[in-house]
Symmetry: C2
Subunit: 251 residues, 2 copies
């Protein structure tokens, strides 16, 4: 049975995250439901590159699944796209090597995090950006971001309660820029991210930008491995999984 790789986008507002769970609607559950319909009711298991939390969005989540061959892949993509809910889009579908695994083969990921710092809060980004209507020093935030680039033990930027032991990750790129009116965008590109790591990084950067944490403290926080020293976890609605990288793909 051929293995398919698909790239999907979703508005996470109305989902309890990507991964299936006992209670609540999930993106994985929704895609599996559509695939089952297209497969004469037989269950198909979907594997994602990783979970995204409740309210978190994706513009480039990667999934894989095994399914009988469809003769026309574009027709299959179209069916999967249009028969899934309106808040899920299927951007591409292709047959890949049967050894491909969306999660285990992932070499890296890019996330965006959007902040609305306007007064008043924009009605148009209330589910699509975090609202932070306070003074923000972008230059200081960029200086702090420069300090997390590279290979570090990110224990201080990982939510407690995860079973993963090795918390060393490499961040290739970390930047913040103004986009449009009253909007900031953070970009994080790295070889992997711990549980809630991007949101804790952003929460810490906003504290720096608001002059409640000196830039130099980032080194101390990284070295401490202590989650309590980093800033709060930023809200889920600002976070977007933008791209997942695989071998023969850019890092």
């Amino acid at each position: 049975m051929p293995r398919y790789k698909a790239i999907i986008a979703y508005d996470g507002t109305n989902y309890c995250g990507f991964q299936s769970q006992d209670n609540g609607k999930t993106v994985q559950g929704e895609i599996e439901r559509t695939l089952s319909k297209l497969n004469n009711g037989k269950r198909i298991i979907v594997h994602g590159s990783g979970r995204t939390d409740s309210g978190v969005h994706a513009k480039g989540q990667v999934i894989h699944f095994d399914l009988d061959h469809f003769r026309d892949e574009e027709k299959f993509r179209h069916a999967l796209d249009t028969q899934s809910a309106d808040d899920i889009a299927v951007k591409s579908v292709e047959i890949v090597d049967e050894a491909f695994h969306a999660r285990f083969n992932a070499q890296g990921k890019t996330y965006h995090y959007l902040v609305d710092y306007g007064k008043p809060k924009s009605p148009f980004t209330r589910f699509y950006a975090a609202f932070y209507p306070y003074d923000l020093d972008i230059k200081k935030m960029q200086e702090a971001l420069d300090k997390v680039v590279g290979t570090h033990d990110f224990s201080a930027f990982c939510a407690t309660g995860t079973s993963i032991e090795n918390k060393v990750r490499t961040i290739y790129e970390a930047k913040v820029e103004e986009i449009g009116q009253d909007q900031l965008r953070f970009t994080f590109r790295g070889n992997g991210f711990l549980y809630k790591m991007v949101r804790i990084l952003v929460g810490t950067m906003l504290k720096v930008g608001n002059n409640r944490l000196p830039v130099s403290e980032i080194d101390t926080i990284l070295a401490s491995h202590n989650r309590n020293l980093a800033g709060p976890t930023a809200h889920p609605e600002g976070l977007y999984l933008m791209e997942v990288y695989y071998e023969d793909s850019k890092k």
Copy 2:
């Protein structure tokens, strides 16, 4: 009693338009409800610069109302903003001359219309742009737009059933441009717009862009005064009332 002018923004997705009606939630009704709360339960009538239809958005709708003086205008704006629903924002509030009327004094308006022409449809713009996944020749659309600039009888671009007799309006600016990935933005600035005029203009332009209507036909349609010759009414979710102009303000 002082007269207040306020600039408001709203996500029109969940409203039956701006103007109060017997059935369904409206923006006017929502603002009047909040004002009444702030006015010890006494009813306040809100006047808008014009109605917007169900699903249409605004980033710069102007309203006026009469209300006892609040000592701190920014505190009043903040109360009105935060006590109204999350999909309505109150951007500014100021005391104006008691002769000011949001509708009768309006000198002109600017509208935007957003089109998502990506495949697949983006989950993030499903309520905020019209979906049109077909070939579009932007140069031809701009040529057609150039033909509607100026003073014309726009009867052919007005929904039937309106009581307004004089259908001559002046369009100062009409342009289309690519913004971001798979997104087009139309801009219309004029001294006034007839019922559904912007949406009929856009529906006609998309027909031109898709090579189903020659650019030269625009002159014929304008001269015909016949609604049946123009294109279809484009969907409401792409339309935004951006700004309303008053005397001493730019046109």
